[in-house]
Amino acid sequence: MNYAIEAEGLVKTFGSEVRALDGVNLRVEQGTVLGLLGPNGSGKTTTVRVLTTTLVPDSGRATVNGFDVVKQPNSVRSSIGLAGQYAAVDENLTGRENLRMVGQLLQLSRRDASRIADELLEHFDLTAAANRPSKTYSGGMRRRLDIAAALVHRPPVLFLDEPTTGLDPKSRNAVWAVVEELVAAGTTVLLTTQYLEEADRLADRIVVLDRGAVIAEGTSAELKSDLGETVLDLGFVDPDTAERAASLFRGSWNGGVVVDGSLLELSVDSGPSQVMLALRELDSAGLNPSRMALREPSLDDVFLSLTGRRAEVTEEDES
């Protein structure tokens, strides 16, 4: 098997307190997409920084495109592209100047760098804005330029660190289309995201990180199958009531039982009869749900059942 990215036992601590990576193992097959999923502070970005040679791990080893990230950093750097929240474009330079600069720093001749800059601008629909300083670009345009900058030398391995965070749905779709096109052409992609939908759509395999460690790994379908095929959401008036309802099912229920605030989530793989059973149980205990929905499990549910917390950052978490 050919792995474009391999990491074994990566550990990185900041200061004496924060253990950002606590023994991360990863393997990404050539030409596939790995989605690195986890909340803020779970170690996604630190993993990317180690793999892109901008951070040296305390212990563990990793290779990218066959090169050791610590011993052969320049060979790694020639094989990768990096785009995302922490690798920026220069806002004082125009789109064309940004791409040409990156090309030159990738050791292309000025002529090649200029030619490729123009081709990339064309491809990413930025030709009209090519000679404007990139600070005048919209968020979506800037992100496209950022990704274009990561593709100047057509790297075999591409790292995208939260590539669509803060983008509107249209720009997000455009980024996704680019990733799909690159993968179809054989590029290996490691993508970090907080959006489960994004991992679901793009990633062949998903690794879930929490507090610097891998807590689950598999295809989207495999991760979801642990939760069953169908989930019944039952909303109650408050978390207490939801908890009381959950206690009716814990231990006896054939499938997952998860409480999230005032919401109770039950796996109901056996079909309508299991739904009716659930409702009868609630009725006999005198607990009336205020709303109800049947749906397929999302990766969010996977994360919740693995960690007891939601993956996506809510407004309160950020303040």
Partner: protein, 269 residues
Amino acid sequence: MTPSVLPEAAVQMKRSRLRRTIGDAMVVTERNLIANLRIPESLFFSSVQPIMFVLLFRYVFGGAIATPGMNYVDYLMAGIFVQTVMFGSINTSIGLAEDLQKGLIERFRSLPMARSAVLAGRTTSDLLRNVVVIVIISLVGFAVGFRIHTNAFAFLGSVLVMLFFAYVISWGFAYIGLAAPNSEVAQLMAFPILFPLTFASTAFVPSSTMPGWLRAFAEHQPVSLVINSVRALTQGGPTARWVIPALIWCTGMLIVFVPLAVWRYRRIT
């Protein structure tokens, strides 16, 4: 997305380590100079303060300061030149702190470029910026009565001394810019360092009126030595006694500051 295809990979040049180091530094220098040209306000406003200093000392305080053997304006300009290029070097720390903050350094560090290029490019572009500043201040000086009483070569020599000094200070500020949490703090950190060095010096007044302890500091610290060199080279008098210790100081500081900044750059987390 447009249906056009993505460009094929181009050939990466095989260059010697030295050519690559110089080439990469030139690319970064060019990038910084473009940014300077895009924000002419920055150069304009950083010239306003020294111009106001010239006017303030020339016309407000100057009459009350006795400078035996030369006109006050001739005495003053050496101080103004050195003060201005030294404050101009703060740009190095602001620029690097901004690049760090905005994620550009992260991009640079993920590219197969020479590790020294970001620092070398930044200090070089700030050196060129200081050349422009010296031209502006010279014109202002000549307009308010400053005259060179030596010759053109000596004046050129004084410019080289100032630029070398400013370049050294830039490397010191490179360290500060990389260590500061953000560009605002990087700028604030410069002030307590530069202020005493500028004013407890022979920049604006002769040291003879200072109390003994201050006079001892003012006469031996590097900023005064550089100012005295510039003054001797533009106004006449013995030059070697100032220029040689000034150059020794500058070289010594360069030997300390460059490795310090590079060390700091390598251990960015």
